[in-house]
């Protein structure tokens, strides 16, 4: 009973326990911030990724595969699959207007041909179109989407982005348009609050030239195809890699530009120079396109149905694809290829290695910081050692009035636990405040000290993850309490083993 009373009094009347609690708080906050940001980054990557590119993909890059609509029809029959859509992906070059002079600046981009409505069902495309009416507000004058005079224009731009078309205001004729990532042009200034403001030109009013390079089935370049297209809207996923590279185009248009649309060809068994008997004598047989090459898509993106995870959906897609491939023997692919063709989104080539690296990096950084935080054990130990020395006479008094060795030891362990609880709670609160405001803090550090730690070009996201997960907080706080109690153990044992008579005579 006396332990509770003394713990309370020692906590509130000494500077040293305050120092120990601060040490625990800082260590706890440090680990929690690192874990929240790095773990949050990974979680964000995993959560965002599937919503941007679907849960499962069937992909055969460059060459593509035909009969994709038939495949989609079969796919959506499965209960595991909610929706599926074909896409075409290719590298491209986008010439964008510059803030410096009249020259256009080329950007290497990832061109994605989509059917907007279907693509939206799989990836929530429409939700990510940036320019949209958000309702007039005088408080948010920085945000163009809230300006009263922009509301009608924003509604039209949203509609145009959703359909990948732009209507001529004079003639009323619609023409195909593209949607580009909000970081592609670098003409948008992002405020610390995360609002994009056009620095000079408003991109959706502009017209840019997009060039792509169609390849033959043997991988040989055919000829550069380019189109001058208006920008219907801009796209923001929050993943820097996507926002700085992606350009969306109508599916049919990109298919046509990449020579992936339906075509007729000369049969493969045609022999050049063959002579046949014509009505007016012998004639050389002319090549005639009698075969039809079906249109192709490079990807089919699939969204898992509610209640099914990506792995279950992947298994279902594999089964469907296997059957599909057997029905189309010879062209384009055999069933043995399915392992490389059907994958869950996080196994997408390039992304898979990146996610694995992030997982390892997160684990490594966490282990390092836990090691660093282990110094709290020694810090608390040193502070408690000194406190036991200071409290030697008190220990003698307690023993004289009947306190046992275990009781005295428990007093200091309990005291360590109390400091751990106070320190961990304070550290948790500090971490929560910092993590919750990490983006404004980061902006402030950048503006005042020029210190930008989070580079979106490296970390994918334009914003630092800013959420503390309760389970993580619980583990870190528990660790803080444990470390503190561990630090108190040896001093507590020393207190318990003190000779009470010597302790009473201690000066």
């Amino acid at each position: 009973m006396y332990q509770a009373l003394l713990t309370r009094r020692y906590l509130t009347s000494k500077v040293m326990p305050l120092l120990a609690a601060i040490a625990v708080a800082l260590c706890t906050a440090m680990v929690l911030i690192v874990w929240s940001v790095m773990g949050g980054f990974l979680a964000m990557l995993l959560a965002q990724g599937s919503s941007i590119i679907g849960d499962v993909a069937i992909a055969y890059p460059v060459i593509g595969f035909p009969h994709y609509d038939e495949l989609i029809e079969e796919l959506v029959q499965r209960p595991e699959i909610e929706a599926a859509t074909p896409t075409i992906e290719s590298l491209g070059l986008l010439a964008v207007s510059s803030d410096f002079g009249d020259d256009l600046e080329p950007r290497v981009v990832q061109v994605i041909g989509i059917r907007p409505d279907e693509f939206d069902e799989v990836t929530s495309f429409r939700e990510r179109l940036w320019w949209r009416p958000l309702g007039a507000s005088e408080d948010e004058t920085e945000d163009w989407r809230r300006k009263e005079e922009n509301q009608d224009a924003m509604a039209r731009i949203l509609e145009e982005g959703s359909t990948l078309s732009e209507r001529d205001p004079v003639t009323g004729v619609a023409e195909p348009a593209m949607v580009i990532g909000i970081e592609v042009t670098r003409n948008n200034y992002r405020t610390p609050e995360g609002i994009y403001r056009p620095a000079s030109a408003f991109t959706p009013q502009d017209r840019y030239t997009l060039s792509v390079l169609p390849l033959s089935r043997r991988g040989v370049a055919i000829q550069i195809e380019d189109r001058s297209l208006p920008v219907a809207n801009e796209y923001r996923s929050g993943m820097y890699d996507a926002d700085s590279k992606w350009v969306f185009l109508p599916f049919d248009m990109l298919q046509d530009m990449l020579k992936l649309s339906e075509a007729r060809r000369v049969p493969a068994d045609f022999t050049p120079g063959e002579i046949f008997e014509g009505p007016d004598g012998p004639m050389i047989k002319r090549p005639e396109a009698t075969e039809t090459v079906p249109a192709r898509a490079t990807n089919i993106l699939i969204r898992a149905a509610a209640g099914f995870n990506a792995r279950e959906t992947e298994a279902a897609a594999e089964e469907v694809y296997e059957r599909f491939a057997q029905n189309h023997q010879g062209y384009p692919l055999g069933p043995t290829w399915k392992e490389n063709i059907v994958y869950v989104w996080e196994e997408k080539p390039g992304l898979k290695q990146f996610i694995a690296a992030v997982r390892k990096e997160t684990g490594l950084v966490l282990v390092l910081f836990v090691f660093i935080s282990f110094t709290a054990v020694f810090l608390v130990g040193a502070i408690f050692w000194s406190m036991v020395s200071e409290k030697t006479k008190d220990i003698g008094i307690l023993r004289a009035v009947g306190a046992g060795r275990l009781g005295v030891a428990w007093l200091f362990v309990r005291y360590g636990l109390a400091i751990g609880i106070v320190g961990s709670l304070a550290g948790g609160a500090l971490a929560w405040v910092i993590v919750s405001n990490i983006n404004p803090i980061h902006e402030w550090l950048g503006e005042t000290l020029g210190l930008y730690i989070w580079d979106p070009s490296i970390y994918y996201f334009t914003e630092i993850p800013s959420r503390v997960e309760p389970m993580k907080a619980l583990i870190v706080l528990g660790g803080g309490v444990l470390f503190s109690a561990l630090g108190a153990l040896i001093p507590a044992a020393r207190a318990a083993s003190m000779n009470p008579v010597k302790a009473l005579r201690f000066e």
């Binding site: 009973m1 009347s13 008190d394 008094i397 004289a400 009035v401 009947g402 306190a403 060795r405 009473l504």
Partner: protein, 244 residues
């Protein structure tokens, strides 16, 4: 009156660096229940060491020079055979200590200091159960020592005499059978010391408390039932010069 405590042939040697300093050299004493015994002797004669051994805070050396065992019997039970936990209980319930320098815990209030042995002697549940009675007893004791208005004060806010009265209340809180006081007036002026002695003796009748008072002060000795002299670690037999 029967013997409450019987200490026989106590030996104790301390090490001071490489030197062995014998403090008790075969001291024996018997304390009758309810008596007040004053122990006089020069500095280093072993008075405080004897008090610590009788109170179970220290142990006598196991093998004495004449091969007779050092024993302390309390109500027929030998302290040397008690476990650590039993000795803790002995100190908590049967013995009360009063020290020359009060030895109060500075972080606790007057009332909490007085209640400290009550907390140490009881588990959390039992203490909580008896808390009201114990607080009433501590308040009553402190009030009887004129400290009824100072219950929430810290030791640093009290005079020396007041601190010693808190220490006496603390020693009496568990109604001990044996009160061991080490120079209880040694750090106080004559008037305050007399007051402290009055307070101490006023409670002698309570539950037949036996008092063992270590002192230099002949005035304290005069008020005891019996005076014992210690010289060179041995109790001087009655009738010898030091005993007069």
């Amino acid at each position: 009156m029967g013997a409450l405590l019987e200490a026989n042939n106590l030996y104790k040697t301390y090490r001071m660096g490489k030197v062995r300093v014998p403090v008790l050299r075969g001291a024996s004493i018997t304390l009758e229940a309810g008596e007040v015994v004053a122990v006089l002797g020069k500095s280093g004669s072993g008075k405080s060491t004897m008090m610590h051994i009788l109170g179970g805070l220290d142990t006598p050396d196991k093998a004495s020079s004449d091969n007779a065992a050092s024993t302390v019997m309390f109500e027929g039970n030998e302290l040397g055979r008690m476990s650590g936990a039993e000795l803790d209980r002995y100190r908590a319930r049967r013995v009360g200590f009063v020290f020359q320098f009060y030895h109060l815990l500075p972080e606790l209030t007057v009332l909490e200091n007085a209640l400290l042995p009550a907390m140490a002697a009881r588990g959390r549940v039992k203490y909580t159960h008896e808390r009201t009675e114990l607080r009433a007893r501590a308040t009553e004791l402190l009030s009887s020592f004129g400290l009824g208005e100072r219950l929430k004060h810290r030791p640093a806010e009290l005079s020396g005499g007041e601190r010693q009265r808190v220490a006496i209340a603390r020693a009496l809180i568990n109604r001990p059978d044996l009160l061991l006081a080490d120079e209880p007036t040694g750090n106080l002026d004559e008037v305050t010391g007399a007051g402290i002695l009055d307070a101490l003796l006023a409670h002698r009748s309570e539950a037949g408390c036996t008092m063992f008072i270590v002192t230099h002060d002949p005035k304290v000795a005069q008020r005891a039932d019996r005076v014992v002299h210690l010289r060179d670690g041995v109790v001087v037999p009655e009738g010898q010069p030091e005993a007069v």
